[in-house]
Symmetry: C2
Subunit: 294 residues, 2 copies
């Protein structure tokens, strides 16, 4: 059991981590800090934290585990400040969607007495903020850890204990490997959703067409409702791989456009391949869930 | 109340129409026909039809309303045959996702004694087939009708009565206007989903990356699981407008790719615009539903 955990950033992920940790009785004391005082107070009222802190210093002091649950962009100054504010022996982990950049900041700023372990729980909702926090958000989700050769086994063990208390499934990856794969299965999808939303909403026919948009459109644009700041920070810190995946996506769309323009009868086979790939993925997902009934 | 309605094609839409019509007691007798005998038998067992017909002729005979609920591609030969098989005075309607092509076939093949009204209920599920049929599928959905100057008011009235019995919301559109708008809000989304599924599944990293794919990926590829035949027929019969929308989508994606490649800090504003457009659409949808609590 942790003596004292600090959560920095009390949005959907930070708030849900607090709720989950407290419900699992995995920490004696959970301290919380956020840029907005009303968010910290709300997190306390909702039971996500035991203590509302007025500063990063107050939250960090004496915490053996410090979880950064802010947008990626905020993590750089936080790590710079924690270099002096965190207690010697503390372990810092983060939940950012991109890992290489955060890890390079941590290795640049933190002294040898403070450990860092990059983490990323693959969990989310289309709603954000402390009000959306949910103690079960991480149950059975994949929680990536991206240790480097500088990560100490003791620090890794602490973060593994955190993940275990959340009921999540741990997975180890190289930081660059993580970022490359997430660019394909997470970052490309939100860009595709945003582009679809903009393509339709900027069309002169949108006022009338919007009434005809059904459940397919709803699902395909759901991600466009996500946090613009979070998406921007992801793009800024994972620019190269996202650009590569986007080029692949655009190339495939261009090929499809050519097939459609020429009324190619083989379109059905291309669509059948995609259907098969989607069904295979869905089946594999269900099998994994059934084999891990936590 | 209809005396006799025939449903041709007993998949998700045809089966759901039968269930809804019978539960609303809107027809004294519902006859059904499908290319596959076991589907017709299953539809009868599930209560979607009163009579399993062994041929199109048997289903059409004496029916005052004939509903074509097959993929678009099958409608051409069906309309050719119904020109002689349908009883004089019969009204034929369809449920295809594209309207201009079907209407031109109907106007080419049907004699003046048989009326045609193009229709399109905007309802669906990711699962298809008679087993997925659902009597409530059309409740509150938008049901487009695309009458032309050759459509008789009496025929239109019959199809309006059908829509009313389903609890759907009727909307009149020009066929080309319907096809142009649906290309944006329905056809472009399924192509975007298929392309995303293929871009990721064809990548060498897919085996590992697929494990990291979460709820965003799931929603963004759900449409890729839809019927390849239906999608192909939609693309073949609405090729021009889909091609135009795809060009717009590709252009917007290319612009985003350039912003991401150059780490443009203004990305957040573009994403915020998309978020706003998505939230506005969602609100409008909810308002419409609340003002039509059928």
């Amino acid at each position: 059991m942790f003596n004292r955990v600090a959560i920095i950033g009390l949005g959907l992920i930070g708030g849900s981590l607090g709720l989950a940790l407290r419900q699992a009785r995995a920490a004696r004391h959970v301290a919380g800090f956020d840029l907005y005082k009303q968010v910290v107070d709300r997190a306390r009222k909702l039971g996500a934290i035991d203590q509302s802190c007025a500063s990063l210093a107050e939250a960090a002091r004496g915490s053996e585990l410090i979880i950064l649950a802010t947008p990626v962009g905020a993590m750089r100054p936080l790590l710079q400040q924690l270099a002096t504010l965190a207690s010697p022996g503390a372990v810092i982990t983060d939940v950012a969607s991109t890992k290489a950049q955060v890890i390079s900041w941590a290795e640049e700023y933190l002294p040898a007495t403070i450990s860092f372990v990059g983490g990323h729980p693959i969990a989310g909702k289309e709603t954000s903020g402390i009000e959306a926090a949910d103690a079960t958000l991480f149950k059975q989700c994949v929680y990536c850890l991206t240790p480097t050769k500088r990560t100490s086994p003791a620090a890794l063990e602490k973060v593994a204990a955190l993940i275990d208390s959340l009921g999540a499934r741990m997975r180890f990856l190289e930081p660059s490997e993580h970022d490359g794969m997430m660019a394909g299965v997470s970052h490309l999808p939100f860009i595709a959703a945003i582009a679809l939303m903009q393509t339709t909403a900027l069309n002169p026919a949108w006022d009338d067409a919007s009434i005809l948009a059904g459940s397919g459109f709803r699902d395909m644009t759901r991600l466009a409702a996500g946090s613009p700041e979070m998406y921007r920070d992801i793009c800024l810190t994972n620019s190269e791989t996202i650009t590569r995946w986007l080029a692949d996506y655009i190339a495939l769309l261009s090929t499809l456009r050519d097939h459609i323009a020429t009324r190619d009868l083989n379109l059905g086979e291309v669509f059948a391949q995609a259907q098969k790939a989607r069904n295979n993925w869905q089946e594999a997902q269900e099998q994994t869930k059934n084999s891990n009934p936590k």
